[in-house]
Symmetry: C2
Subunit: 224 residues, 2 copies
């Protein structure tokens, strides 16, 4: 896999990102594309989790991926090589998040008219991506065990806007002071409606439950 498609996305010229996001969400609904916006800190395991999730779902639905990064295309190569699904790179040119217009440029560049599920891997950042609606149908965040269970206290908005909180790297729980029940409680404090799924992208534990959550949400969205 030598040719990674790279799109240099530009920030929205519209002042009203929320309106733009709502319009994109409506268009995607008409096209039958369910868009997941996946957010987290750098290094919490977005790409590895995605790889496992996609391999579990790819026979059931057509999937495509947009990898946003300030620089580099390592994640797009990883996804393409390990899953075989269509993946493109969005270069944000130093921007710390994606907005709806950048996401739209990505969707157009991806040319994913026949996809059932598009996953946007946002820039690794717990702050700014939470502030910008990308037009996604669902927001998901990953918190990894080594980061500590106090993150919902420190980065409230990220947890408020997400429909699902995935706790990753549970295989290394014995080596860290991570209290899973306290974490669940902090997440609930920020967002009582959010789902909460502990996984290990490395060992595969919990990925089945994660895949089931995605299938259930796609079904609910189609019927809505």
């Amino acid at each position: 896999m030598n040719e990674v498609k790279i799109i240099e996305v530009k920030q929205s010229v519209f002042a009203h990102n929320d309106m733009d996001a709502a319009a994109l969400r409506k268009e995607l609904k008409e096209k039958g594309i369910f868009l997941i916006n996946l957010m987290s800190s750098p290094g919490s395991g977005k790409t590895t989790t995605l790889t496992k999730l996609i391999n579990m779902l790819k026979d059931k639905m057509k999937i495509a991926v947009m990898e946003a990064d300030i620089d580099s295309d390592v994640d797009t190569r990883t996804i393409a090589e390990r899953t075989g699904v269509k993946a493109i790179q969005l270069h944000t040119g130093g921007m710390c998040h994606l907005d709806a217009e950048m996401t739209r440029q990505g969707i157009e560049g991806l040319d994913a008219g026949d996809a059932d599920l598009v996953i946007l891997e946002n820039v690794g950042n717990l702050v700014c991506p939470a502030e910008f609606d990308t037009g996604a149908s669902r927001n998901v965040t990953i918190l990894s065990v080594p980061e500590g269970h106090d993150k919902p206290l420190k980065y409230p908005l990220m947890y408020q806007v997400c429909d699902l909180v995935v706790i990753n790297k549970i295989d290394v729980m014995p080596y860290f002071d991570f209290d899973l029940e306290k974490c669940r409680e902090y997440v609930k404090m920020r967002n009582p409606e959010a789902a909460f799924i502990p996984v290990s992208a490395k060992t595969g534990e919990g990925i089945e439950e994660l895949a089931a959550w995605v299938e259930k949400e796609v079904k609910a969205w189609k019927e809505a």
Copy 2:
């Protein structure tokens, strides 16, 4: 320790943060305050590393700490309780970084006229803090082992602006696919001048070397 001093910092009204940062740096030099701007992803161990570092240095120089967070005061409580040095909380009101004006408000609120060393723990974020000169004498970033050795490839600016890269959580190296030499090489690629110190804030390994680096830099800065 029940009373954490919290300052709600406001973004600069000046368009030219760089000018403002240069002015603050000059003022701090006149006051004899060496300011370190400590940056990293959320959960890479800034507060734990600081605690160990301060306990090693506090008999040699007068230290004070400013903890920037979007919300919560957990880090300020931790620092104050575990080191006894003066620590205040800067609330950024949702902002993803500190600029020079916010740092100035912090320095004023800290009332640290007699401090030799002030450490600013920036918001946990590998992107935005790198873009804003705070007026600090030195920039330091922490990368923790669980985040992966590829971070200098993905977040170039952070590594370009830092004088020192601390690799934290080396005690868990056996449980992660982290290549220390590759990481050193990637850091060098971004910034050939940056120092590189592996530590474990948990076990204390490497903290002595880190403290020696700080002492050396304070000395060089005083003589400059």
